[in-house]
Amino acid sequence: MTPPMNEVSMNGRPLQTPAATLAELLQLQGYDAQAAMACAINRQFVPRAQWPLQALQAGDRIDVIAPVTGG
């Protein structure tokens, strides 16, 4: 059976995804799970340990961030 598709926004870009959890979404989008990055959904921090458990809902706005230069 085809998994249901959710429309979410990832780093500001809309996308349709069959991912059920944040961890699945990151994997499907090609992120390296070991990379230096952190995540938030709907402007709420999601700790790394929660990524496999964090269920996605239609309309979720996901942010994935990484270190950059800064002052």
Binding site: N11, A36, M37, R43, A66, V68, T69, G71
Partner: protein, 261 residues
């Protein structure tokens, strides 16, 4: 140089350095070494998977052996800044956060209300908050009372290099908050600016553009380090009081050519 304590950590250098706008990663590394800094600020931005993660930059920063101070630059509200701080804590494994909540995009002037609101929450959550603020005395007092590890007034708007625009206000902050860790953050352009605020008794300065965008960032990093040290030494030595009238340095007693007629 007398060591000082920032967020429970003893430091020898009183110069904190940003990592942005350098001509190359190597120049950044050389400037860091020349400056003697022990604290580097870093930012956080969205990551696209095709960019392979922020590992390369992060590894370079880690190799420099400094304490990392992540910022919440660009946040426009308390909640944004709180969330970004939580993400930074996990990513960098540090409770240190340079809290920036911007209130005006043209001047990059901090939002006093959002800054204080975020500071109170973050302190409660166990962060060591270094709060970027204006030179407003009452706001600085509130941030200090909220438990911020450091209060960081601007000298001038970020990236302008104009130096202290209101030295009197900075002096007042130092006088009224003798027990607070006060770091001048933003707007310094020349080593003499750094020396000026260090002579007032500020605990440290935080720079980025003044070093990174200098013609020779490595030499400028060294120049700032010496200016910060000179300013601190001068503060500890207690500068003389100013006088309104001239007073000769050479004794007048024994002056030749004078005769009682």
């Amino acid at each position: 140089m007398t060591p000082w304590t920032l967020a429970g950590t003893s430091l020898a250098s009183r110069l904190l350095l940003g990592t942005a706008h350098y001509p190359s990663p190597q120049v950044l590394a050389d400037a860091v070494q020349a400056s003697g800094t022990q604290v580097l600020t870093v930012g956080l931005r969205r990551l696209q998977p095709e960019h392979g993660g922020g590992n390369a930059f992060w590894q370079r920063v880690r190799a420099l052996g400094c304490h990392v101070l992540p910022n919440t630059a660009g946040c426009h509200g308390a909640q944004e800044a709180i969330t970004l701080a939580q993400m930074a804590r996990e990513l960098f494994d540090t409770p240190w956060i340079k809290l920036e909540v911007i209130g005006d995009d043209y001047t990059l002037q901090p939002d006093p209300f959002g800054t204080l609101e975020a500071a109170r929450v973050l302190v409660r959550e166990g962060f060591q908050v270094l709060a970027y603020t204006t030179d407003d005395l009452v706001l600085a007092q509130r941030l200090h009372e909220a438990g911020c590890a450091a209060v960081m007034p601007w000298a001038a708007p970020i990236g302008t290099g104009r130096g202290p625009q209101n030295p009197s206000a900075l002096q007042t902050l130092r006088s009224r908050l003798p027990d607070a860790v006060l770091i001048v953050d933003a707007g310094l352009g020349r080593p003499s600016h750094a020396a000026q605020v260090m002579e007032m008794g500020f605990d440290a300065v935080l720079l980025n553009t003044a070093v990174a965008q200098a013609g020779d960032p490595v030499r400028m990093a060294r120049a700032f380090a010496q200016a910060v040290d000179a300013g601190r030494l001068a503060f500890e030595a207690t500068p003389m009081g100013e006088r309104q009238t001239a007073q000769a340095s050479t004794p007048t007693l024994g002056m030749p050519f004078w005769h009682q007629s």
